[in-house]
Amino acid sequence: MDKKDTMVLDFEKNIVEIEAKIGALKLLAEDEAVNIDDELSRLQKKLEKQLISSYANLSPWQKAQIARHPDRPQCLDYVNALIEDFTPLCGDRRFADDETMIAGIGRFKGVSVAVLGQQKGKDLETRVKYNFGMAKPEGYRKAQRIMDLANKFSLPILCFVDTDGAYPGVDAEARGQAEAIAASIEKCLQMKVPVVSTVIGVGGSGGAIAIATANRILMLENSIYSVISPEGCASILWRSADKVKEATEAMKLTAQDLKKLKLIDEIITEPVGGAHRDVAYMVEKVGEAISKNLNELLKFSGEDLKKQRTEKFFTMGRNLDK
């Protein structure tokens, strides 16, 4: 990546060094008529090897860091690339429009759909605008409104989950954050249309499951989904924020662990180095995975989809060790 102010994770440092060398070499070749092909291909091979070995055995904590990477593609990256004629819809018809909760209608590969998801923002300005991806009760109530709309007009619902959690604030509590999340989960379960949720980054607790009580739950390879943030868990159970790595390890929050626990359906492979290293590729992959799952679900009646969804969540945990 040639963006200068990109955040570099610890285990990415070697990679960034080689990338810098390649960049410098290319620059040099432009100025002078030196043949650098050999050196370049040697470095490129080294980079590939480095990437593969760095990313082959990432620890849960390292995955959490990738999942939270500021350059990781976010909800709107997927929506803008995958949803044709996307028409954002706003407001809970009660109190406010929560910009964190992206909601709207459009077409996915020619099929009319409804879209939900949390947007985190990528720089200070947009992070503030999207409240760092933490939705308020009005966001979850907007989601419920759009789900009702989707149900009425037979629009499959595609959710892009990416939140550290629902917003913890006095105002959010006063307006019933808990009720808003509960009602949102309930609404998901009542839908007679396919619901496909993809955890694209961080699936933070109740704020995530509010739009992830789905027929199919997909996770990106380096995304995480957990009952509480690793930091929160460390400080409550270990009584020390320093124990965050241990907590992350223990929580079983990676896509791979959750697949083993049969809590999610599918893992979407990320480009080597993580989704942020090739956004276009990632978006396409996610589109393919959603499309495959959606096509399977579209064969069922609304009544069946609702039943299957309820059954799926009833079965969770009962189906282990079999």
């Binding site: 407001g91 018809r93 709309l149 629009l155």
Partner: protein, 292 residues
């Protein structure tokens, strides 16, 4: 049903409405005070070229703008018995009606029309602000009810275009009851799983805002328009404070969760086509540009 019987024969005198801006050479922008050449104003769809204020749009122009190629059939509405309360304030209600009918060439403050929007046959019920401030009495209520019936029979989307000061006081409680009647009408459309899209224009207030206009599946508001229940003067007198700038404007309503989409006038048709075609699972007709 008999479609032919429901269509109104086009009236010639509508085309030469006396108050039409286009007939005067110059018009003053109510927002910035700039004098605007009416030919220019017509070209800009009655949006001030100086300050971008969206002037109130004549109803026939609104319908031209929303229906494909400006083509639509107006639907005849049941005749309502005038002045049920024999109401008189400074003037007899019957005299007021007479004057407005002469001025606008319409029976009352509503038009119901059917035509294609992005290739999807749709029904529009639009309120005429120029007829007694678009106030909702029995005739307007009946128009909404009729529009809902036609939408349901034809399995097509219902679009209402609100522009109203509220209830028609001269019809007393019969007017208040239109809030319930119109709500019942749009509720039927919604129960039939047909899109009900409410377009809010300047102004959407009082009994109209507190009934069908706020019950759409999707709410599209025109930039800067006034939307609210109570009038600003009433609120100011009650709280004895000056109201903040932007209060009760379309953008304020969106921020407060009441409106989905705020559009400029020249974007309205496209947004409407997108919403209708997605909800009706139809490919939008590419030839969807509005007649301007």
């Amino acid at each position: 049903m008999n479609w032919l019987r429901d269509f109104v024969r086009p009236k010639v005198k509508k085309a030469v409405s006396t108050k039409d801006i286009a007939d005067n050479l110059w018009c003053k922008c109510p927002a910035c005070g700039q004098m605007l050449f009416s030919k220019e104003l017509k070209k800009s769809m009655y949006v001030c070229t100086n300050c971008d204020h969206h002037l109130r749009l004549y109803l026939d122009k609104r319908l031209n703008m929303l229906f494909d190629n400006g083509e639509y059939n107006e639907i005849s509405l049941p005749k309502i018995k005038d002045d049920p309360l024999k109401f008189k304030d400074t003037k007899k209600y019957t005299d007021r009606l007479k004057a407005y009918r002469k001025e606008t060439g319409r029976e009352d403050a509503i038009i119901v029309a059917q035509g294609d929007i992005g290739g999807v046959t749709s029904v529009i019920a639009a309120i005429d602000f120029n007829f007694m401030g678009g106030s909702m009495g029995q005739a307007v209520g009946e128009g909404i009810v009729k529009a809902a019936e036609i939408a349901i029979k034809g399995k097509c989307p219902l679009i209402t275009v609100a522009a109203s000061g509220g209830a028609r006081m001269q019809e007393g409680m019969l007017s208040l009851m239109q809030m319930a009647r119109t709500t019942a009408a749009v509720n039927l459309v919604k129960e039939n799983k047909l899109p009900f899209i409410s377009i809010l224009t300047d102004p959407t207030t009082g009994g109209v805002s507190a009934s069908f206009a706020m019950l759409g599946d999707v709410h599209i508001a025109e930039k800067g328009c006034l939307i609210g229940f109570a009038g600003q003067r009433v609120i100011e007198q009650t709280i004895r404070e000056k109201l903040p700038a932007g209060f009760q404007r379309a953008e304020y309503l969106k921020e407060h969760g009441m409106v989905d989409i705020v559009v400029r006038r020249d974007e309205m048709k496209d947004e409407l086509v997108k919403v209708i075609s997605i909800l009706m699972h139809k490919k939008p007709n590419l030839n969807r540009l509005a007649l301007k």
